[in-house]
């Protein structure tokens, strides 16, 4: 490696092809998968025609990614359609990986605590001397959970370089599930839970549509389950006291008291096992023995749900295709093993093991990590047993409980942190080595047995840097010459990959094919397993009722920020929380009653909502957080979401409170730091705090909006619509939709039947007596199935990525100036007193109205109706009168209040097909018109029209639930036409104001009898 790099050297290296900088050798590789900067164009590549590279990242949880690379720069991350789990879709968090690539927190150069910023030459010398002096001593490595070739190189490094250990750490551990699996089935694996084909899902709290398990696949399977088939559809019951987004999409939420979930599971297990017809006599006896102490009555009382409800639940479970999912790990207090064991047994009784609980695809225990390793490491650090510590891919300084004293322990050794971005841990390390980002590195992520994902660099590193593994190889080669034939990690990975997976006659081809595919995906089918573990009679003996009676704090996993590893992404901060609509903050969620007791008042104000800071004391920790009042939480319960409260990220993203601080610093029986529902003390500090939300909480989020000062009188708006299952599935085995007559649009607002004075575009007199109609070949339409949509917000982030939407920050959002073209309208149904209201989510974006209110009022004709049914927006012609936005009944037009700027290098991820808008210009969704144009151009080159399914909008592509269809409405065989003419189809507000939107919504199918038109 050229150590001293100045500008000249940099350019020279770029000219040589980035490989030299990567692998630290002078010889130009003869392999075209190396990084190619665009100083000298690559033969055969056309500028502005994107290449897609299949890869994955650690942060995305091994999702299959296709990275769109334009002129040598990664600009967008899309799902790998061939990936069996995410199948081309992505969550918001997975898409935001491109923001961490260009984020302001990226490290550019090595630094030393005493040296300050170092040159690469100095760093290399320093590392060399560190490795030489400590050779044979205790060199420890601390990484995130790694597997495959990555695990190999770390273990090899620690074992060959000295007597240290390789320790893995992640904030979330699956050790309780592994232990439970071992006890119940004798298998040391993390099973894969799948909802595919399920008919009845009981989740004891698992937020499987947001954070738990394979979220993308769960969304898809959940949507499929909800689809009406012959008058029936699957049912989802969620047990949780604070409605999560998953609960919001359940047919019923059972607000069980926190801490009672294991009791519920046991009571249900006892009941279900006793009535099971398929279970063997021996197993029945085993389970009866284990659950002798459980009863519906005690569980019903402890949970506050009542025995009757649980009995009914047990009966419902005894149907074909039932599946039980456990509680969230963070709400299990030390009873994680028994809880998961009970849930596994329940699934065994219900016959779900093999079908929905797949151990054949299970993740081997080696790929997981518990928290014992990090506790031991801290002990060794304190005992002075660690001579050198290398840290990579994990941020323990952020997520470890304070009581463990990681920071103090770390100071007792020499530590080197390899990281692409700054965080709390790099701030503590003696030396910080800037490494390449996952999208610029080689690697491997193995999520399940049979799911081996390859990670390849998709572009030249943004900064001059290498990946951590290259340093390990260099050190190993220096320590013992000839011990390692490979010179860099790419070669190492390639050898390891082809060795492990065979590769057959042509390993080279196999390697290339694997890279192209993004890895190897072959999820094995699940098989039923016998109860063969050593459960022991006292498995459930320790399960007791929670003693918490007063205020309880529950830490909930955040869909946006998760374990806090991807928090430095503006898109995620600006994506409103799915349930509360809050952006840029963390908050204590509480009910009206709780807030009243505390004297907390929330007031929607002109510059955001005004609330008070509340001091929360729990588990020996104290934190001041803003209170946020929601209607979707039980009384005497406050929740705090994870992932915020950073102190070491780049300045913008250090916000809110760190929920991990409340975790116990002692390990539970499965070897992890838990907390569970913890009693908490709340003190209102009466300190005013301003929050930013996307809506006016308590006012603008109601399905029926009451008039101020007037009880009982209300306005129901023709926006979100539901239909009862009974009305959809007619008797006689009709299908749920798609084969019916076109719905009469006038039936919803009968009084407006005769009030449409606007002619259809096709009746335009200009086209009378002519061959052509207004819409020649295409009329683009979009359709949302509200029965599939969960309101996760993945489409919102996809739109940010595709259409160059700026992130405007908390202050601007508080003023109502967010720029999102798609928003998720979240409404609350009216609830009986004391009940949690039903939550409705509806994506809202430009409806491309055929008689658009916005078009007629623009004085400069900057917005007009195209011949393809789009409500086009000509940015260059816009003067900025904002009349169009005023007149838009859906309020989907966004005005550029400023010339918004992109922090750091984030403008590198801009889509060159979409212009970046200047201040004073109106903008909005046009169904990704650049993609339409692209698709039509490609079709034209082939001498035909664009076929159905060739063009996808960004939101449609990202939607994990498959709730979006896009296509040509003129094509009567198109998928979008099928939905638009479904019996459930309606067009928002159209029945009232006759705007003739180009977006159809399919009514949500609810189990309740009454439905609202």
């Amino acid at each position: 490696m050229a150590n001293k790099i100045d500008r000249r050297d940099f350019l020279a290296l770029m000219g040589m092809g980035g490989a030299a900088a990567t692998v630290g050798c002078g010889s130009a590789p003869n392999f075209d998968e190396t990084w190619k900067p665009w100083v000298s164009p690559v033969a055969g590549s056309v500028p502005y025609v994107p290449n897609y590279y299949a890869t994955t990242t650690h942060g995305s949880g091994g999702a299959g990614l296709w990275v769109k690379v334009l002129s040598g720069r990664a600009v967008k991350v899309e799902g790998n359609p061939n990936h069996p789990i995410n199948a081309g879709t992505l969550t918001a968090r997975q898409q935001a990986v491109v923001q961490s690539l260009y984020g302001t927190g990226r490290l550019r150069e090595p630094t030393g605590k005493s040296e300050g910023t170092m040159t690469w030459r100095d760093l290399d010398a320093k590392l060399k001397s560190l490795f030489e002096t400590n050779k044979g001593k205790n060199i420890y490595c601390l990484t995130g959970p790694v597997s495959g070739a990555e695990a190999e190189i770390w273990t090899r490094f620690t074992s060959e370089m000295g007597t240290g250990r390789h320790v893995t750490y992640a904030p979330y551990s699956e050790s309780d599930l592994v232990l439970a699996s071992e006890k119940v089935f004798g298998v040391q694996k993390v099973p894969r839970f799948s909802l595919a084909g399920a008919k009845f899902v009981l989740s004891l709290g698992a937020q499987f549509l947001e954070t738990w398990g394979d979220v993308t696949a769960n969304n898809r399977d959940h949507a499929d389950m909800r689809t009406v088939d012959h008058g029936h559809r699957g049912v989802h019951i969620q047990v949780e006291a604070r409605v999560s987004l998953t609960g919001a999409n359940a047919d019923e939420v059972l607000p069980a008291k926190p801490g009672s979930k294991t009791l519920i599971a046991l009571a249900l297990l006892k009941e279900v096992a006793a009535h099971s017809t398929t279970l063997s006599v021996a197993d029945k006896a085993t389970i009866a023995g284990l659950t002798a102490n459980a009863s519906l009555e005690s569980a019903g009382e402890a949970s506050g749900l009542g025995a009757e409800k649980l009995k009914h639940l047990a009966e419902s479970l005894l149907t074909e295709g039932a599946l039980v999912l456990p509680a969230e790990r963070l709400e299990l207090s030390g009873d994680g093993v028994s809880h998961h064991a009970a849930v596994l047994l329940l699934n065994k009784v219900l016959g779900a093991v093999g079908k929905h609980v797949n151990y054949a695809a299970g993740k081997p225990v080696e790929h997981t990590s518990d928290h014992r390793g990090i506790v031991d490491l801290v002990k060794d650090l304190n005992d002075g047993k660690v001579d050198l510590l290398l840290i990579h891919g994990t941020n323990p300084a952020y997520s470890l409980p304070d009581g463990l004293g990681f920071a103090q322990a770390l100071a007792k050794t020499t530590s080197v942190a390899f990281a692409d971005s700054q965080d709390e841990t790099t701030a503590l390390a003696n030396y910080t080595v800037a490494t390449s980002h996952d999208l610029e590195s080689w690697g491997e992520v193995n999520t399940y047995t049979g799911m081996d994902m390859l990670m390849q660099p998709v572009m030249t590193p943004r900064w001059i840097c290498r990946q951590a593994h290259d340093y390990l190889i260099e050190a190993l080669r220096a320590a013992t010459p000839d011990s390692l034939p490979q010179e860099n990690f790419r070669d190492y990975l390639k050898t390891s990959w082809t060795t492990r997976f065979g590769g057959g006659a042509d390993p080279e081809k196999f390697w290339r094919d694997s890279l192209k595919a993004g890895g190897q995906f072959a999820l094995p089918e699940g098989v039923d397993l016998p109860l063969s573990g050593n459960m022991g009679a006292d498995l459930f003996a320790s399960v007791t009722e929670s003693k918490n009676t007063g205020m309880t704090l529950v830490v909930v996993d955040s869909a946006r920020f998760g374990d806090g590893s991807g928090t430095d992404a503006g898109w995620l901060h600006e994506l409103p929380d799915a349930m509360s609509g809050v952006v840029w903050d963390s908050w204590l969620e509480m009910s009206h009653q709780t807030a009243n007791d505390l004297g907390v008042h929330y007031k929607s104000g002109l510059r955001g909502g005004h609330t008070q800071m509340v001091q929360v004391k729990a588990n020996g920790q104290s934190m001041e957080l803003p209170a946020f009042i929601v209607e979707t939480i039980s009384d005497n319960l406050v929740t705090l979401a994870t992932g915020q409260g950073h102190k070491g990220l780049s300045k913008l993203y250090n916000r809110g409170g760190n929920a991990f601080a409340f975790l116990n610093s002692d390990l539970d029986e499965s070897g992890q730091f838990g907390i569970g529902p913890h009693s908490a003390e709340l003190v209102n500090t009466h300190q005013d705090y301003r929050m930013a939300t996307f809506h006016l909480p308590g006012v603008g989020d109601k399905m029926v909006t009451p008039l101020s000062m007037l009880e009982g009188s209300e306005v129901r708006r023709d926006l979100f619509q539901t239909i009862s299952l009974a009305s959809v599935g007619h008797e006689g085995g009709d299908h749920g939709g798609g084969h019916h007559e076109v719905m009469d649009p006038d039936s919803t607002f009968p009084i407006h039947v005769d009030k449409d004075w606007y002619p259809e575009r096709t009746d335009d007199p200009v086209y009378k007596d002519r061959d052509e109609t207004f819409y020649d070949d295409y009329k683009w339409e979009l359709s949302f199935d509200l029965n599939r949509c969960t309101g996760c917000g993945s489409c919102v982030t996809a739109c940010y990525a595709e259409n160059n939407l700026p992130v405007v920050g908390k202050d601007q959002v508080a003023k109502g100036r967010e720029m999102s073209w798609v928003r998720i309208n979240r409404y609350l149904e009216k609830a009986e007193h004391g009940q949690l209201p039903k939550v409705r989510a509806m994506p809202m974006m430009c409806q491309q109205c055929a008689s658009a209110p916005c078009e007629s009022v623009c004085p400069s004709l900057a917005t007009y109706h195209t011949k393809e049914g789009l409500n086009a927006m000509v940015y260059n012609r816009c003067v900025g009168t904002r009349y169009c936005a005023n007149n838009c009944s859906y309020k989907v037009r966004r005005f550029n209040w400023f010339s918004f700027e992109w922090e750091g290098d984030l403008n590198w991820a801009l889509n060159p097909a979409v212009s970046v808008r200047q201040m004073g210009v109106m903008e909005k969704c046009t169904f990704c018109v650049q993609r339409i144009r692209d698709g039509k151009d490609k079709a034209r080159d082939l001498g035909r029209k664009a076929n159905d399914g060739e063009i996808h909008t960004a939101c449609q592509q990202a939607c994990p639930a498959g709730a979006v269809r896009f296509g040509n409405h003129e094509d009567k065989n198109s998928k979008v036409y099928e939905w638009a003419s479904d019996a459930r189809a309606y067009r928002a507000l159209d029945s009232h104001i006759k705007t003739k939107p180009g977006v159809t919504y399919l009514k949500r199918v609810v189990l309740e009898d009454e439905h609202h038109g």
């Binding site: 929607s604 002109l606 996307f694 809506h695 006016l696 006012v699 603008g700 989020d701 909006t705 008039l707 101020s708 000062m709 007037l710 306005v715 129901r716 708006r717 926006l719 009084i751 003023k815 109502g816 100036r817 967010e818 928003r823 309208n825 409404y827 809202m844 209110p853 007629s856 009022v857 623009c858 004085p859 400069s860 004709l861 012609r877 816009c878 003067v879 900025g880 009168t881 904002r882 009349y883 936005a885 005023n886 007149n887 009944s889 859906y890 309020k891 966004r894 005005f895 550029n896 209040w897 400023f898 200047q918 201040m919 004073g920 210009v921 109106m922 507000l989 009232h992 104001i993 705007t995």
Partner: protein
């Protein structure tokens, strides 16, 4: 009460007094006004540089104080032409004393109003795209947009009333020309376009003046009708209403007359013109204010009736929210100032007490500003989709520009009274008793 009680011989001297060397007070006042204007200009430059975000506007509320100001000033600009044209055609004698200043006020108000579309658009440097002009790019404007109608309506109104105003000034300017010396004489001479008060000139002048008066009359009605269609043509509940045109015109006359009185009462006092601007004039104007106040009040009630009678839940909702929601204070302020406060004018005692009248007209000005604010803002905040509701509060930049716009208006007015006769000298002479020997004697006796 003798309505015309000034001697012919005093007219020139009294009216032209305002053109004499300015007092220190005048200069101080002018300094304050120009500083305020400069502050407003500074605010606008700040907005141009930073973006519209420095205003309080946001996503549901795209129009706020700027459009309120626009409608307010267009409304103010109604009284002048009404007085000079319509009352001229009706031969109302009380107009002679006030029409010149009212007309000047009209011109300056429309000049002020005309600034606001420029201030309010996101890209002010491209505002000329709103004007249809032939160009190679074949870009054309949208004739369906009410904003374009505005461009024409306000443009026409401004050009016609300016010409009307300038033409009416000619005989008076010739009087100044005859008295002025040096450079002034040359300038006024140029402006007087060779007026020599010959019979033939007077014959043509009077015919032309009548013609312009007839031309202006429909414009009085049209311009504010068109402005009202900015709202009425839209789909916004609370805006979408057929009553808007007459309602806005009545409101405009109402606010315009109030503004005329607000200005003339101190003006009369400062320049000791009590002889010319008598209680009788204010009585007449107060009656007009009372009439228009009743029309405006009736319109408010009609709006509510229709909101209920139409059974349109969205419209019903917004009208309810207007009265009892977040913007209840501006709403009740509007009701009080425009419906309740003018009621005492039914009493002649109040009507002829200028302190009271002045106070009431100030309230009316405030009330009419808030009327526009109410219509514009409260309708936009709560439209069809409750999830997209929002709030609006003006920022300091908007208030600064609004303040600057008042300074801009008064700057022109103060310059006007410094350089032109603020009452029509020739028309005052028309209604005064002609200068005969008998008259002079009679006056001396009385």
């Amino acid at each position: 009460m003798k309505e015309i009680n000034f001697p012919y011989s005093d007219i020139n001297r009294d009216i032209l007094r305002t053109l004499e060397k300015p007092s220190v007070k005048y200069l101080i006042l002018m300094t304050i006004i120009v500083s305020g204007l400069l502050f407003g200009i500074g605010c606008w430059f700040y907005q141009l540089k930073e973006g519209m975000g420095v205003a309080g506007l946001n996503h549901p509320v795209g129009w706020g104080v700027y459009i309120t100001d626009f409608v307010f000033w267009v409304g103010i600009g109604h009284a002048g032409t009404l007085i000079s044209a319509i009352l001229f055609l009706f031969r109302a004698r009380w107009r002679n004393a006030i029409f010149r200043s009212a007309e000047a006020m009209t011109i300056f108000a429309v000049m002020t109003a005309g600034l606001f579309p420029l201030i309010h658009v996101g890209r002010a440097w491209l505002a000329w795209w709103l004007i249809p002009y032939p160009n190679q790019r074949e870009l054309w404007v949208n004739f369906r947009s009410p904003l374009l109608w505005d461009v024409f309506a306000v443009g026409t109104y401004f050009s016609v009333s300016s010409i009307f105003f300038c033409v009416g000034l000619i005989p008076d300017i010739s009087i100044i020309r005859d008295r002025a010396k040096g450079l002034r004489k040359k300038i006024y001479g140029l402006l007087a376009v060779g007026w020599d008060s010959s019979y033939s000139q007077w014959r043509h002048f009077m015919a032309g003046y009548g013609f312009f008066a007839a031309l202006c009359t429909p414009l009085v009605l049209s311009v504010h009708s068109v402005v009202s269609w900015d709202f009425a043509v839209s789909l916004v509940p609370g805006w979408h209403s057929t009553i808007f045109a007459p309602y806005f015109v009545a409101g405009a006359v109402f606010s315009g007359m109030a503004m005329v009185m607000t200005i003339l009462i101190p003006f009369r006092k400062i320049f000791s013109l009590e002889k010319y601007l008598t209680i009788w004039h204010f009585d007449m104007m107060a009656r007009l204010v009372l009439t228009t106040s009743s029309i405006v009040g009736f319109s408010y009630l009609t709006e509510y009736f229709i909101a209920w009678y139409s059974d349109d839940q969205f419209e019903g909702f917004i009208f309810w929210e207007r009265a009892f929601g977040k913007y209840a204070v501006p709403f009740w302020l509007m009701i009080f100032c425009n419906m309740i406060a003018p009621l005492p004018l039914w009493f002649k005692k109040i009507r002829t007490n200028l302190t009271w009248v002045f106070f009431i007209t100030i309230l009316i000005n405030v009330g009419m500003w808030f009327e526009r604010f109410n219509i514009i803002v409260s309708s936009l905040t709560q439209e069809y989709d409750p999830y997209a509701w929002g709030w609006y509060q003006p920022s300091w930049v908007e208030l600064g520009i609004t303040f600057g716009s008042f300074c801009w208006f008064f700057m022109w007015f103060f310059l006007f009274i410094r350089f032109f006769p603020s009452m029509a000298i020739t028309e005052m002479k028309e209604i005064a008793d002609p200068p005969t020997r008998a008259n002079s004697a009679a006056q001396e006796v009385s």
